[in-house]
């Protein structure tokens, strides 16, 4: 373990995690809205927003899957030191982190069981940019419609078709955060 892994966590864990959770809650409850998530400085290529999300939600009881370039010793050491989360293959993970291409195929992730739809994965998708433009969203949490720069449409429509099963997504870019729960209907702009 490198000494860098020991740094970059929350300075005041209780209150910073509380602020981070409220941002994560608002993001998930209002799909398409953008939120700033600060306080964590994880090693590259993990973004500060994704790092803060993991610090807030992951612990020894939540297997984490790292996909693509984030699956490197520096990130693994950092997550291990700060959260204690075990690493797991995609089909066992509660949280999966990676860029959109690296997370494919998405059918690997847990979508819950018909009687326990909550037992599903949460994907943390690292995107180069994130903005409230692009595809149209509607559904719970959205008054009329919202816009979000999603990487594609088909995957989210397929996920919506599984409702109430399915995975839920956070999108992170730098310190920006947005979310797309399984309940959201995604349409062409």
């Amino acid at each position: 373990m490198t000494p860098e892994a020991l740094t970059g966590g929350f300075a005041a864990p209780a209150t910073e995690a509380a602020h981070a959770f409220r941002a994560a809650l608002e993001a998930m409850a209002r799909p398409g809205t953008l939120h700033r998530l600060t306080g964590a400085t994880p090693p590259a290529p993990l973004s500060p927003a994704a790092g803060a999300l993991l610090l807030t939600l992951a612990d020894t009881t939540t297997p984490v899957h790292l996909a693509g370039t984030v699956d490197c010793p520096a990130v693994r050491d950092w997550i291990t030191f700060h959260t204690g989360a075990p690493f797991a293959p995609a089909d066992q993970a509660d949280f999966a982190v990676g860029d959109w291409a690296a997370l494919h195929p998405l059918t690997r992730f847990r979508i819950g069981q018909p009687d326990y739809p909550d037992r599903s994965a949460t994907l943390i998708v690292e995107l180069p940019t994130l903005s409230a433009t692009g595809v149209t969203l509607r559904g719970p949490g959205i008054r009329d419609t919202a816009q979000l720069s999603l990487p594609e449409i088909a995957a989210f429509r397929a996920n919506r078709a599984l409702f109430p099963l399915g995975f839920d997504c956070y999108f992170t870019s730098g310190d920006m955060l947005a979310a797309l729960p399984r309940s959201t209907i995604v349409e062409e702009a």
Binding site: A14, M28, P140, G141, I142, P181
Partner: protein
Amino acid sequence: MSDAYNFAYLDEQTKRMIRRAILKGIAVPGYQVPFASREMPMPYGWGTGGVQVTAACLTPDDRLKVIDQGADDTTNAVSIRKFFQRTAGVAVTEATAEATVIQTRHRIPETPLCEGQILVYQVPIPEPLRFLEPRETETRKMHELEEYGLMHVKLYEDIARHGTIATAYAYPVKVEGRYVMDPSPIPKFDNPKLSDNPAIQLFGAGREQRIYALPPYTQVISLDFEDHPFEASKAPHDCDLCGAGDSYLDEVITDDRGSRMYVCSDTDFCAGRRAAGHVGRLGQPGAAE
């Protein structure tokens, strides 16, 4: 604020577990997410579920309001408000519009909520089908299969026996056309406020270990029949203190000869109206405290 406890009483591991349950509840509106409810320094039935959800949501910047049947000044509300003042150091208020987090027992405030607010309900029995089917294995299967006929039979039997749907509180609702949900024992007068609400609504049942949620602008429909449509009923009176004709009323017996008065159950709403000069049948002008 006491330094003897972690911020907002609960340890961080517990808060993470509750936060994960809340997020899954938001993602599947109306579905009851199991969570590992902790023992709290109050008895079950006094809002341990709501307190745990509130503790997981609070930040130091929040302004907390706690109501019990609409009142800010009852034992349950006062003790929970003091609990969070002591363990989280948050600001508190009795004004609905000024609060960012509102924990409630059995009412939705009369003042419309807005974006940025969180309403946390204390829930005794989260399972709407529990009194119809006592087995958890069976009710879980019924939710899985959307098998809600039994609930309609119950409402039908109400009509057969009383001529009308007699369920007056904890009136079952259907969320986004999928899950039937118990809105907690709010009067059915409050049911229309559940739907399309700009605030986040979170439900915590401590003894039963369930959390469920309604994201903002979620469609919530009270179950009914075409020929017996849902009706948000209230006592057919005006508030005797502030004169409001559109608020939910408590009936207060005032002597042993059958005299009674009706007052707003929402104390903040009633006080606000009296401060604005509204006077009811028994109110005195300028008497608002």
